[in-house]
């Protein structure tokens, strides 16, 4: 039997109607699936696909201990406990559980926070350890959640605080190495774009998944030696207590590499509690970021310039009258009485300003600090000793200081006569100590650095040391070692361990108060070296305080001696017979 729709019959009308509906459906589907494909595919992707950031682990920071890396800054995962008061029915149960497990990490006003039923988010405890968080999770408290937070942890407490800096709440390194090397330490976050289930578990379905793994930050090893740093901080603290000074800094450098072994500044702080520091000045790393007029320690550089240019030697003589006239100004000695014809070695021993103004004069025509003398001094101080410019040390906030150019209007004879004994110029301790290293190591200038290398696969990969520049003759360096040794011996009897070569120079610099130099508030400095035939360390110490007349010999030198004697044992330097 053949079925046939009769024209005009109801069946035929129904068929036509169904066909029309099918056409509409097909048209609508074509519109949705073909024409609007991109739009709806995007909507679907937005619903199903999640874009997850894979956080990079911030690199850790190590110090050294006799060449072996030890942790200074690490990462720790801690947990913040929060609650939704609207969900919690039994406040007391939650309070008891949190207080029992979190202890001192629980907030004080938990009861009031949970009573605020209009709020959906209240923090109940912070900085819980993984074990504490696990115990609390096991209580299965409804309405209580946990948030993972990675934080920096400092096993050595406040050791090398200003050198390290800290990481702020945004995860950005602030001050110190944390800031200077932030890009290397922070690494690069990875990216995961994937279809996920309701619990955000990434699934391998879909053809547009992206997985870029996170690149963790570098684990950086500082040249700071943990024990030297601790000794420098202790010696400085003892020195401040002894002298009554309120501020002090010390830096210890290896003169054969430019590696900074310690940088200490007091008052200090604990980087793990940086938010409790009342005065942000405590964050400054004084040896790199606070230029000052160092005073007589600079006489070693003036002498080095004179010897290197061949115009003077330690045995050169001059007539000391305790005063010397430069244009319309008179420069006088702080230590008076060593008058008559004396050697420049004597001038060094007694730190006589007139002797070094004389050296500056002899760099010119012998009687005045003329343009030639000033040009020579500027060439040595600025271009060779790298004073008045940033050293490039990897600590944030380094300041350049200033050496006034010899050709500028302020670079006159009076200024340069003052510079000959360390006034009228601004330099940082790291500049001075790095330049002094060249004076005692044979004349080679090493750029100072706090980086010893990086840890890769558990091994220390040392950072290459930049090739040094020969800035003065090695014979000049030899003479400077003897001169500073003699100068130190003149002031200090039986303070040093016998059998070693220890040399140094004091500095007492007036400061400007209310626009004028005053000797009522001075900065005491000491700059020296120690070792055997080879200089093994250079130490610079500075002490100061408001309205305190700090002196190099009396207040800074004992701190140097304390560190120096300890260094000889620590470095196992053998005394000469």
């Amino acid at each position: 039997m053949k079925l046939e729709l009769v024209k005009g019959s109801r069946s035929r009308v129904l068929a036509a109607l169904l066909f029309a509906i099918m056409v509409i459906f097909a048209g609508r589907l074509f519109y949705l699936q073909v024409i609007q494909y991109g739009y709806y595919a995007g909507l679907a992707k937005g619903e199903q696909q999640k874009r997850l950031s894979l956080p990079a682990k911030r690199g850790e920071i190590f110090a050294l201990e006799h060449g072996t890396p030890v942790e200074l800054v690490m990462n720790e995962t801690v947990y913040t406990v929060f609650a939704d008061p609207q969900i919690i029915k039994n406040d007391e149960k939650v309070i008891v559980a949190v207080q029992e497990i979190a202890g001192g990490n629980a907030v004080d006003d938990m009861k009031a926070r949970l009573a605020n039923k209009e709020s959906r988010y209240q923090i109940l405890a912070t900085k819980l350890s993984r074990v504490q968080a696990k115990k609390l999770k096991e209580k299965d408290l409804s309405g209580v959640g946990f948030q993972e937070v990675s934080q920096r942890v400092y096993p050595e407490g406040g050791l090398a605080a200003q050198t390290l800096g800290f990481v702020n709440t945004d995860g950005t390194g602030t001050y110190g190495v944390e800031s200077a090397l932030n890009d290397r330490l922070k690494g690069e976050d990875g990216l995961l774009v994937a279809v996920t289930d309701i619990s955000d578990v990434p699934l391998t379905i879909g053809n547009s998944n992206i997985n870029i793994p996170a690149k963790d930050g570098d684990d950086i090893v500082l040249s700071i030696d943990r024990n030297v740093q601790a000794k420098a901080e202790q010696a400085l603290a003892d020195g401040l207590k002894r002298t009554g000074a309120t501020n002090g800094s010390a830096i210890v450098i290896d003169p054969q590499t430019g590696h900074v072994m310690a940088m200490a500044t007091l008052p200090s702080y604990k980087p793990g509690e940086y938010y409790n520091v009342p005065d942000a000045a405590a964050f400054n790393n004084v040896p790199t970021s606070s230029p000052y007029e160092p005073g007589s320690v600079i006489k070693t550089f003036t002498m080095a310039t004179g010897i290197d240019k061949g115009v003077v030697s330690p045995d050169s003589t001059y007539v000391n009258t305790d005063y010397i006239k430069i244009e319309d100004r008179v420069v006088s000695n702080a230590e008076k009485g060593h008058t008559g014809t004396i050697t420049l070695q004597s001038a060094m021993n007694w730190s006589l300003n007139t002797g070094f103004v004389t050296v500056a004069q002899r760099l010119g025509n012998g009687t005045e600090i003329n343009q030639q003398a000033r040009d020579t001094m500027y060439d040595y101080f600025h271009n060779r000793f790298h004073m008045g410019e940033e050293t490039g040390i990897e600590v944030a906030g380094e300041q350049a200081g200033e050496i006034v150019p010899a050709r500028s209007s302020e670079g006159n004879a009076v200024r340069y006569s003052n510079m000959a004994f360390g006034q009228g110029m601004n330099v940082t301790m790291v500049q001075t100590a790095a330049a002094f290293s060249a004076l005692v190591n044979g004349g080679k200038y090493y750029q100072p650095t706090v980086i010893a290398g990086v840890i890769k696969d558990g091994q220390l990969i040392p950072q290459d040391i930049k090739a040094p520049a020969q800035i003065i003759k090695s014979t000049t360096s030899d003479q400077l070692r003897i001169m500073t040794r003699t100068a130190r011996a003149t002031l200090l009897n039986n303070g040093d361990k016998p059998g070693y070569t220890i040399g140094g120079k004091t500095g007492t610099a007036e400061t400007i108060v209310n626009g004028a130099y005053t000797d009522k508030q001075t900065v005491g400095s000491y700059l020296g070296f120690g070792g055997d035939e080879t200089a093994r360390y250079v130490i610079m110490v500075q002490v100061s305080g408001k309205n305190l007349p700090m002196q190099g010999a009396r207040h800074a030198m004992p701190i140097f001696t304390d560190i120096s004697n300890w260094m000889l044992d620590y470095l196992k330097v053998q005394p000469k017979e």
């Binding site: 030890v70 942790e71 690490m74 990462n75 720790e76 995962t77 350890s129 993984r130 074990v131 942890v153 096993p155 050595e156 407490g157 050791l159 578990v201 990434p202 699934l203 391998t204 379905i205 943990r226 024990n227 601790a230 053998q574 005394p575």
Partner: protein, 117 residues
């Protein structure tokens, strides 16, 4: 004319196996399928293929959960390792060592000297 089948001949034919000029026979089924049956069969095939796809996709997804479980385990162990490293660093910190009972028992030597070999 008569033919006699020999075993030799049979064996030879069997061993020829699609030899040259061999006749082949194509059998045509007597069952005829209409358009509806075809449609149903195609639909069934699509359904089966779909089910196979779903089975495979589900199996791949089950691997995702396994991978996630292992990832979580690795993260957990990594956290534990990190905690132990931090604890180790704290226990070997200078301040801890200095305040240890062993350190407190130590005395300063009265004198020391270097010995040359």
């Amino acid at each position: 004319m008569s033919y006699q089948r020999t075993t030799t001949y049979y064996a030879a034919r069997r061993t020829q196996n699609w030899s040259r000029n061999q006749n082949t026979t194509r059998y045509v089924s007597a069952v005829k399928l209409g358009p509806v049956a075809h449609t149903v069969l195609i639909a069934l095939m699509i359904t089966v293929l779909g089910l196979i796809y779903l089975t495979q996709a589900t199996r791949a997804t089950s691997y995702d959960y396994e991978a996630q479980r292992i990832d979580n385990q690795i993260a957990e162990l990594s956290d534990q390792k990190q905690d132990l490293e931090v604890e180790n660093a704290r226990l070997t910190a200078l301040e801890t060592t200095k305040n240890s009972s062993v350190a407190r028992e130590m005395t300063t030597p009265a004198s020391s000297e270097y010995v040359t070999e």
